[in-house]
Symmetry: D2
Subunit: 350 residues, 4 copies
């Protein structure tokens, strides 16, 4: 089989670096080039000590010309500038930014900036394969989900699609890489031996994306369409920063409309995800380290019989299923390959 010509725009951030790690040995991909404004013309290994290859960062234009499929791993606001010309030139685009995840009016409200390609949103397909894989296969523009969004949606979808719960609270903790490679306030000495919440009380930008997903799933069930009908799910969301590099743990609370005992609840989740290659449902509680470097989402639902609360835990690698490896899962769908090609469910321990 001919290998797909793939390029990466923005290869010096964590998303781009992880994509490179996955695409270099991917059996059906030819990684034809990668760019970084900051590092153009310099060796890959200067920016990425873990990638000891002789390749150089090229210009954006050079990468675009050689590629049939382009991953955009650039900051929010830049993808919506670049995508139109790429699509017009017949390229397929997989965007890791937030630019095409939300209706433009919602985007503008939460990201505090005008949307520059609002018309493209209607063409975009939302890249959460467990719900949108039918659309992803044929998509020219894939909007890959946010990291908290992936973990939260997968944790709550079974309950929401069955109409089982209300009053949802999503409490989450993330490793530092979620803030990006050049984020302020992430120096080791300020983060180690520290745990804190941030962007609390309804202020984090992943909120509308989680709500949109759950609303779609509430209205459409498993086989959802990006631009299909939608319910009205609202959530309270509290992100925390944990002193680790990778990993997200979501602890979601919801009030059951109908109480399911522990075994029944576990059964609902096992049934819901039984054919998903990258979702693990278990009685054992998930640990973020169990997903490090993999494309796995590890989920365990529980009932607190004393108080009637349903509590669902889900763990992902924020740079894996929360970002780059999920984008590769989508690439596999776009190329008609087995979804698991070049990806792993087994993580690195310790």
């Amino acid at each position: 089989m001919k290998r797909a010509k793939v390029g990466i725009i923005g290869a010096s951030g964590y998303g781009g670096g992880e994509l490179m790690r996955l695409l270099k040995p991917h059996p059906n991909v030819e990684l034809v080039g990668f760019s970084s404004r900051k590092h153009q013309g310099k060796p890959l290994s200067e920016s990425w000590p873990q990638l000891p290859y002789p390749d150089l960062f090229e210009s954006q234009q050079a990468v675009i010309e050689k590629s049939d499929i382009l991953f955009l791993a650039i900051p929010n606001g830049l993808a919506m500038e670049l995508a139109p010309s790429l699509l017009q030139a017949g390229k397929r685009v997989s965007d890791l930014s937030a630019d095409f995840r939300l209706p433009p009016e919602v985007y503008q409200q939460w990201y505090k900036t005008p949307h520059k390609s609002p018309e493209l949103y209607r063409q975009a397909v939302y890249g959460l394969p467990e719900f949108f894989r039918a659309e992803i296969a044929g998509a020219n523009l894939v909007a890959n989900p946010g990291c908290y969004v992936t973990a939260s949606t997968l944790a709550l979808a079974p309950l929401v699609s069955l109409g089982l719960v209300e009053n949802i609270i999503v409490n989450a903790a993330s490793g530092v890489s979620g803030a990006g490679r050049e984020a302020e306030g992430t120096s080791f000495a300020e983060i180690n031996e520290n745990f804190k919440a941030y962007k609390v009380a309804g202020s984090h930008r992943h909120i509308p994306e989680i709500e949109l997903n759950l609303s779609r799933i509430e209205a459409q069930g498993r086989q959802a369409k990006t631009h299909g009908k939608s319910g009205e799910v609202k959530i309270t969301f509290t992100p925390h920063l944990a002193p680790m590099s990778r990993g997200i743990l979501v602890t979601a609370y919801a009030t059951p409309r109908r109480v399911l005992e522990g075994a029944e609840l576990l059964g609902v989740y096992q049934d819901f995800y039984q054919n998903e290659p990258f979702v693990r449902v278990s009685e054992a509680l998930p640990e973020t380290k169990g997903t490090t470097g993999s494309n796995l989402c590890w989920i365990s639902p529980k009932l607190d019989a004393r108080t009637g609360q349903t509590i669902v835990f889900s763990a992902i690698d924020n740079l894996g299923k929360g970002m780059a490896s999920q984008a590769v899962q989508n690439l596999n769908l776009m190329l008609g390959l087995a979804e698991t090609t070049g990806l792993c469910t087994g993580g690195l321990w310790p």
Copy 2:
């Protein structure tokens, strides 16, 4: 002033070590001895690299004989065996274990073991000075609170005492030292780069203690009595293990019966704790690292205006305000000293 003769039983665990760090330089205390079954006769510094003193661990009996006040930093179940004879001998006892924190019948239900000194519970005073300081001053047996309990109670007390909330969820993360010095499953390679929940869905032993506290405060308000009347508060509690040695962050959710906007809510907390030397209320979100090595509890209450949820954050050092320095705060009360003697509000950073 004559210095009080104080001894520590069980000085090789984290609670005992931290007590030693605080009591050695305490201006009104003579630390007359300390014991450890495992290390009896050996130098302190063999067990504690950070305490380079020439002293030796002595026998329990030797320490008891020399002391007027004894700290019990021994495992649950042993304090209730030892306390009766100490009290009979006229010693005052400050217990760091769980043995005298709960009514014996509740203790037996949650700790799965018969209580050996149930009659002593009636004499015990609960060592949370912000609510029980009047009783602590004259107590002969102080039951120092659990770590999660201190952070949770201080976070929620203002709302509960004013009858402002219902449906309480306490989501908490703790450093590893909370599990004790010889806990299984705490090896570095399994914990670093990992975040997970444990003892979920109503199974953690601090639940009845948090509920009892909040119930007392609901019924009695600020000036509570250990054995006074009590309400019926129930909570959902989810502890998590964070990859750090010290620190607890509580993120408490509650549904307001009457919605207080952000500024009003902050004002309620500032008023409630205005005279407390070791409670800091701020608009800034607490960070566990801001309390390291101190006796501080740092609190910030927020309203999520989108969903109507009240969210309260509180941070402590689990070995400080969550254990040893709180016990020293109680000691100061027992000795009629200023509560802040030998304690600090300023932590170690970074």
Copy 3:
């Protein structure tokens, strides 16, 4: 091509877990079974959260019967009991313990226990492929090197084989997993924010193995034989424990017999290792994180022109090139495969 039937004895330690991660997706290997005394009959995922497969740990005997090649990932002292019967039954054996790395009389001196299969040492081939690959291809018993040994030997071999240095000091730091999964004194709270030396002043068991390697290379050069002639290299070795899970950094000091300037020195290393797929020589200083999860050894040699000291840095993943992935590199040689099959040079970052 028919896949080799491979089994793992001792699959619940870090070496066994890492082997499993690498062998599960290896294209030329059928992992027919794995055993653990402690976990026999239980699911793999109970012991290894990162390996979400349904397989069970089997008995040692069951694994042996199904396998043509066996990895022994069991403690020192047990491999030499098991290996004879395996070899007699016509199995090929790859041992990760220290049992066949040293002449029996040296083993007895350093490991303080009699050797139970001294005659087998003469059949063993030392599994450092950069020097012994010709022997490894045909070996029935491979003794895989120690972690510090691999990093130290690769760092110093070019200088020693050319007779360029004397007075060698090897200063090294390792992550905690090097101590094994059940090691004492490795709890998170004692290790985090801590750095210390251990087994200093000529007491660490990897010393005779490093000295033997360098002595062979001094006498035989690149194409060494396990049981060939040997020089008399002696080293001062100081291991340190760093607060991390994986990784070894060796900082080796040596007095040059002939001073090579920086560029010349770098050239010597580049030439020496130019055909090695898993050795990276660079002017940039190695970082352990650049090798995490890979089979890479990253080396940089420097001259301190002020004092005349030659200093060589080398980094490996102690569970990778220092243990499991090096054993897979040897397996590839044993099976006549490309040495790089199923292995990667690109690590996980961050």
Copy 4:
């Protein structure tokens, strides 16, 4: 006794923050003010979450006017601009930067910048109290030592003052805070699970300072003078970055001119430091965590009998004995107080 009026210039870096933690409760000090260009007019707690006091950062001028003694915790190059006017105004100055540690011509060579107050160097007293305490007591300008320098000098001084060794190699590892609060390349995700060397092969700026100290001690012995005679000691120095916030461990190698066996060597060190309140000599190997938050330097000397190398280990808290608490020890000397006033030998564990 009247309390000394002390101010801090540059109170938003790690040195300044640690000074504040120590000076706030110091019984003989009135901390009259502190400045930071970046934070002027803002509350202390905005910059320092661990210092929950209501004070504001003031202007440099305001602080200077109120103070009799000024700590300069500002970057290298700024102290030499500010110090002359302070001294002229009759203030005493304790400088934490490198500006007055070295002869101006040496400073210029290593710090690549002209010295702006070369004449002041002759007035400066070197602030290592174990050797220069007689001078420090009367000093108007104290140059506090570098962190690596303190640990290295204390580790090697006994051997050097007795003329026992040659060929000194200082291998050291430091926590990240040594790089300062705003250092590049110190983000958590790049540092955690990583260990590496930096500024190797004779390029680190602490080299001339260590060499000058050891040269003075070689020539003058214990009771050294800053501007007294000097020998010609040279060292090879290799610093490493460890994934921790605080702590330095020095592992120093030296070739003995006369071999001292272990017990004799330990005795030499115990005698040498027997009256030093902040130096702990032990057979047990030092751990950095044993010094966290204290002013302790923990030393253990060893002989490798196999190779004849002497190896000395020393641990300090780089922000403690390596910076701020050592400056307070010097302050105590300047004020004629007991050297231990307001300082501790007991660290924080875990």
